[in-house]
Symmetry: C2
Subunit: 268 residues, 2 copies
DNA sequence: CTTGACCCTCACGCTGCGTGAGGCCCGAGA
DNA sequence: TCTCGGGCCTCACGCAGCGTGAGGGTCAAG
């Protein structure tokens, strides 16, 4: 009948409270051979001697510095392990992880802004990229209306990773397409004709790759808005008088060619 | 015989190169239901449609921001999950991890210094704590001689966590014990007597708790050094003439009482 | 003799895949 | 037509460091 109160050694529970580690951790370190008790009672109880506790204490110290168990083992067991070197290596790793996390944090900031503001550009940048017709309030208003849709989310995710230059490229491409649309209307391209349908498809693809995936049904709704919304109508009619209507009619016709009833089309 | 080259969908390999993720990751996301292909060929090949790839792309974006798969699933599937909130929560977590890592890094710095310098105190602090006899070079010289021993390592680990106040307490305790030793010698306590043995034990305990665990054999070596090293001898003899020798003889006698031959004692 | 607090040994779970093992499928050349 | 090489499939273990029971002995006190 061994006496657990004398100083033959401490049980796991006693060590655990003294060192502030869990019993399970002591079991684990015993299992992997990192720090084992040199004694066991007849019943199998672990008994940690003073020297064992000393070793455990060192394990705790290095674990609090974030070292892995293998590295700790090397420090404790290999007399030729250079401790400062090992610690410096650890410090380097920690610095790298800090760096990574700081980049993550910056990325999160950008994404949060993208979701809340919609455009990560200053008012000046917006004006210089989208032209003087652009109203800096539009992204905020769009967010008010569409902020809880999947499309807005996809739009926000994409914009978070876009630089001003990329926005410029998009704006240029949009302006180019609008010119092409205006020229087509001028040269008598009829809504429903193969040429018009092709242009409608080009519009859908560019919109999809610039903002968010656009289905044909959604495109129909968009075309109606181009015509009915004063701001949009003014924009398109500013390119060519009647372009908003021509575009709406072209989209409608293309939808019909794809077996969609434009008058029944719904967003989403 | 399905044609894998048309746009019914992309195989895992094609998606993997396009999105820059491993095939295994695609398998995993399929397994856990985060992003599954909507088609399979007759042979069981996964076929990702354009919509599937869109979803995968979103997964990649949020994974690069460090979000867990469950949180990503919530963002993608639950229309009522507030994305900015989820991102802010993530940012908070990241900030906490950065904090923890920065504390780790500071702790590593302290430990590296402890191993390399031995004492993390300025020369002024050392002088005010250990008195004017103290030579600031001693820690560096001790490191030169003992830097690759387990004892130095334990000493360094302990000093890394000691504040100037704690060093002051240790210095006071040491000075107190030295006074007690001097008084004992003055009052005629004989090396080998029970009183002397008790004092030797007290010395060993205080040393062990202040610097590193000291065995009786090591204590013998220490006693010899106290007597033979000019600096140590001067220190002890400065307290009481002959104290270095008295202490060495007391330690020797106590060792003999514990069946140790002091003339054969070895460090370590 | 019983009770409650400790102790033991399995053994699965967690996070997000990496890394084979063993085997079927597909397109192209001999 | 046979074969070959590359791609795809489904298991299933591994990892890092324990957390968390499950099921069952042990110890000291009443």
């Amino acid at each position: 009948m061994p006496d657990l109160t004398d100083d033959d050694g401490l049980t796991v529970g006693q060590v655990s409270t003294r060192l502030g580690v869990t019993v399970r951790a002591l079991h684990h370190w015993d299992e992997v051979g990192l720090a084992r008790p040199s004694l066991r009672t007849a019943a199998g109880y672990r008994l940690y001697t003073v020297a064992d506790v000393e070793r455990l204490y060192r394990v705790v110290v290095y674990r609090e510095l974030g070292l892995g168990l293998d590295r700790i083992r090397a420090i404790l067991d290999d007399a030729d392990t250079d401790v400062p070197d090992a610690l410096r290596a650890q410090r380097t790793q920690v610095a790298e992880r800090i760096n990574r996390l700081q980049q993550l944090s910056a990325g999160l900031d950008r994404m949060i802004d993208a979701h809340e503001r919609g455009l990560l550009l200053t008012a000046e940048q917006q004006a210089s990229i989208f032209g003087s017709h652009w109203n800096p309030d539009w992204p905020a208003r769009a967010r008010q209306r569409y902020g809880d849709t999947t499309q807005w989310r996809q739009y926000a995710e994409r914009s978070a990773s876009r630089s001003p230059e990329e926005w410029q490229a998009i704006a240029d491409a949009v302006a180019g397409l609008e010119r092409v649309l205006g020229d087509a209307m001028d040269s008598g391209v009829i809504p429903g004709s193969p040429e018009a349908n092709q242009l409608v498809e080009r519009h859908r693809e560019m919109f999809s790759s610039s903002y968010f995936p656009l289905t044909r049904q959604m495109q129909v709704c968009l075309g109606r808005m181009y015509e009915s919304d004063p701001a949009f109508a003014a924009h398109y009619d500013g390119i060519r008088a009647g372009l908003a209507t021509w575009l709406r009619r072209s989209i409608d016709a293309s939808a019909r060619a794809h077996s969609i009833d434009p008058d029944a089309a719904t967003w989403q």
